[in-house]
Subunit: 147 residues, 8 copies
C-alpha cells in the first residue's frame, strides 16, 4: 500500500526536500504532495491565468481560490497531513489546512520548534505527533508505514 | 428560527460585546457562543481541573484539549462562524477554527482590517463575507436572518 | 412534528404567498422559508452592508455570497424544497438550489408550466413531484404531513 | 496522480474539444468525462432503450433518468467540475450540476462570457474560478496539477 | 428525551394501534409516525393531487413518489424503525424501508411470525430485535427508553 | 474508467449470465459482482463454516450475516445496482438491497415483468430505469458507459 | 444551550450518581444518559422480552442487541461521552463505546485510576481529557459549558 | 477485486500468521494489514522517534498517538476488520478498534474462545461472524470473496 502525505506550510526553508529525500533514501511507500511552493507563482496565479485586477484584494481572491482547488483536492486525497510552522511567519493558511484536515479526520503531524509551542497548543492538541525536525517526521512515516 | 453564531478569535478587544449588543438592540433571532475568553482561565484550565504538569508542553496540551471539547462542539452546532483576526497576534487557533468550520460546510464571516488582507487571503477566500467592523457583521446577520 | 419547507425560485409572481396562505388556511404543520425576495435588496446587499465596489462583477460576488449564507443554511435545515421556474427567466440560481438540495438528499417538488417541461426534464427527474399550481403544491404538503 | 475533470454544459460549441486538445498538447495528468453530447442520442435514449412512451413528459423522464445514471456517477467520481454556460440556452441541467457538485464539496470552474455574469452570480460565487475561454480553463488545470 | 419511532409495513391489521395504545398506557416517551395507511388514499394520491395519468405505470409512479416524500423524511428523522411483515403480502416497500433504514444506521426491530423466518433472514440479520407480537415491540421500547 | 455493477436478486433464472455475456460481447467497460448464487451454499454457509446450530432461526442468522459481509461490501463499492424481481418469489432481501443502495445514493436499475409493476411501485420510483429484459439493462449500461 | 452527556462504563460503583449530583448542585446545563445499569436487567432483557433461548450465546446476543438500540441511539445524540474504567473488569463494551464515539467525532473524557494508565493508553490518546475522579469530570463539564 | 482485511488484537500468539498462511495457500484475493505487532517497538515508538519523556503517562501518549496514525488509516481503508481477543489480556485497544470499525460501517469478524463469550457479547452482537479458530476466519474470507 502506498501512503499519500500532504506537506503543508512554510515555503522559505528546505524542510520538504529533506523529508522527501530521506523518505526516498529509506525507500518508504510514500507519495508526497503539497501546495505550489514558488511564492511568486502562488501569489500571481489568479491574475496571470484569469486576467488582471485593479484591486489587490480581488487579485488575492482570484489567486487564493485557484490555489484552493489544488490544496483542498490534495488534502482530501491524503492519508496523512504534515503542517510546518516557522517562527517568523503568520501562516494562517497552514493553520487553516490543519483545521480543515482535522475536521476531515485526517491524522496530522506538526513540525515546529519549541519556541512557538504555546502559540500552537491548539493545533498540536489536534495532531497525533509533534516533530521538531524533518528527520523525526520521516521517523514517524517509516514507523506507521512499516511492516 | 433561531440562528446559532460562533464567535472565534481575538480576545483582547471588545468586538464580541459590540456584535452581541448591536444584535440584541436590533432584536435579531441569533444566539451567540464562543470560546472561553478569559485568557488566564483558558491557559490554565487543564492543570487547574485535572492536576499539575511539570512541563509547559503537557500543561498546554491538557488545557488545549479541554478547550477543544467546548470549541468543537459549539462549532459543530453553529449555523454561522465569525472569525476575528487582529494585526498583532498569530491566532493560529482562529485560523484552525476557520479551516475546521470550512470543512464542515459552515458559512464563515471573517472580520479584520485591510492591513492583513494579503496574509489572510486563503481564509478570506474560504469565507462568504469579509467584514471590517462589528457593525458590518451585524449587518450581515440582520440580512441573512431577516423575515 | 413541524415540517420545514424552503421555497426557491421566481420572485416576480405571488406563488409563495398563495402557498403560504393556503397552508395557513388548511392549518398545515409547515414552516416556510426562502431567499430574500426583494430584488433590489438581494442585488445590492453586498455593497450596502460591506462597502462599495468599482466593478459589477465583484459587487455581484459580494451580494451573492451573503445571500448564500442565508440560502445554504435554510436549504440544509429544510425537510422539503420547492423549486419554482417561470417561462421568462433563466433562474440559474434556482436550478443550482435544486441540484444542491438533491445532493443533500432533500425531497424536491418542482412547480412550473408545461411549456418548459422539456427544458426542465433533468430537474424534474430529480424531483419527487411536478406541480403545475401552488394549489397542487399545498395538496402534496397536506398529504405528506397528514396524520 | 491523475485528476478527473467533468465537463458539464453547453453542447452546441466545441469548447470541450479545445480543453481536451490543449490539455493533451500540454501533457497534463488529467482525464476528462462528461455527459452524452449527441443531442439526439441524449433526448431519445429513454424510449430507444426502454420502449416508447405516449406522452412527451414521460419520454423525457425516461431519458433524463438514464442520463442521470451517467452524470451523477461521473460527477461523484470527479476531482474538478467545469460548468460551461452559453448566452442562448437556459441550461438548467448545467446549473443543477453546479449545485450538485457544490453540495458534494467538489471545486468548480465556471466558463462563460461577461454578458451573463449578473445572471450567473450565484453560480460563480460558489465556484473557485471564473474563466472566459477554454484556454484559461486549461491554464487553471495546468497550475493546480503542476509540480 | 422523546424517541421517534417509525412504523413501517403491513396496513391490513391493527398492529400499529396496538403498539400505540400499549405505549400510551405505559406512558412511554415515544412519538410514532408511519406511512399513509389508508390503502385507497395511498394508491391514488398521485393522480388525485397532480392530475390523471393514462397509464397505470405512471399513475403508480406519481403516487409512490409523493409517498416517498413522506416516508423518507420520517425515516431519516426517526430514532428506531419497526418493520412489520405479514405472511400474505409481498411488501417489497417494507423491505426497501428496512434496507434504507439500515444504510442510515437506524436501529430496526422486525415484527413477524415464525412461518416467514427463513424468507426474512437477511432482514432479521440486519435488525437488532425480532419480535413476534406488538406487545414484545412495546417491551423493547419500554426497556430502551427507560430510566 | 471501469464501472462496477452489482447484480442483486433472483437466483433461479439465467438473467445474470445474459447480462454478463451481452456486456462482454459488446466489450463494455463493466465489472460485475453479486451475491452467492448457489442456493445451497448461501443457505448453509453459516453452519458449514462456523459450526452447527440446533435451531433454524440461528442457523439462518449465521448464514445471513456472513452473506451480508459480502453483499454490503460489494454494494458499497458498486457504481450501479441492478435489482431483479421474479413473479414467484418474495425476495425481501432484494428489496432490502434496493433500499440500502438507495440510501447510499447509488443509481439503481430494476428488472421485472409488468405483472408486478404495482407491487414494485415504490422500488421502481426510487430507481433511475425500469427494464423488462436483460438486453435492456445492457442497453442502459452501454449508453451510460459510452463515449 | 443544554449539553447531552453519555456516561459509559462501570456499573459496580456510584461514579454516575456523584457526577449527576455534583452537576445538579452546580446547576450545570447538562442532561445525562447512559446504559441500563441494573446488571440483572441488562443481562436478561433479551429473553425476558423476546422469549427464552436454549443456549447462553444466543441469549446474550438477544440481550446485547436490545441494549445496543439504547446505547447507539444515545451515543449518537450525545455531545460528550464519559468512559469509566475500573481495575477489576474487562469492560470491553466500554472500550467499544469509546471507539464508536471516537469514530463519530464525539469528544470523550476517560475516568480511571493511574494503575491502568498503560493498558488504556490508546483509549486515553483518543480522548480530550483523562480524569481521576468524578469531581474532575464535573470540573471539565463546568468549564466547557460555562459562560 | 482485492479485499483489504485488517487484523486487530492479540499479539502474543500466531493467529495472524495462520490466517495469512492459509489465505495464501488458498490463493484468496485478500491483502492483510494490522498494527505493529512487536510489543517493544509499539510501546516505545513515541519516545524513540520524538524524544524522551519524564513521565510514563506522556511516554504512553506519544506512542499511542503514533500508533493511531497507522491504525486509524488502515482501519478506514479496510473492507473487513477481524478482532481477536485472548482470555488473558484486557485488550481495550482491540475493543476500541471494534467500536471504531463498527461506527464506520465496516463488517467485523470476532475471533475468540467460548470462555469469554459473555464478556464479549456486545462486541459479538456488533459483528457479522464469531469465529473460534483462524481456520474459520479464512473460511469466511474464502466464502465472501468467492465467485
Amino acid at each position: 500500500m502506498q501512503w499519500l502525505v500532504y506537506l503543508s506550510g512554510e515555503i522559505h526553508s528546505d524542510w520538504r526536500e529533506e523529508i522527501v529525500n530521506r523518505s526516498v533514501a529509506a525507500d518508504l511507500p510514500v507519495t508526497f504532495s503539497g501546495p505550489e511552493t514558488d511564492h511568486d507563482a502562488s501569489d500571481h496565479c489568479g491574475v496571470r491565468i484569469l486576467g488582471e485586477e485593479a484591486e489587490g484584494f480581488w487579485k488575492d481572491r482570484k489567486g487564493a481560490s485557484i490555489n484552493a482547488i489544488r490544496t483542498r483536492t490534495l488534502l482530501q486525497r491524503s492519508d496523512i497531513v504534515v503542517v510546518r510552522f516557522g517562527e517568523m511567519h503568520r501562516q494562517w493558511n497552514t493553520a487553516f489546512d490543519a483545521g480543515y484536515a482535522s475536521a476531515l479526520g485526517k491524522p496530522t503531524i506538526t513540525l515546529h520548534d519549541t519556541g512557538i509551542d504555546h502559540a500552537l497548543k491548539e493545533v498540536d492538541a489536534a495532531s497525533l505527533a509533534v516533530a521538531r525536525t524533518p528527520e523525526q517526521v520521516v521517523g514517524v512515516l517509516r514507523y506507521v508505514t512499516g511492516g
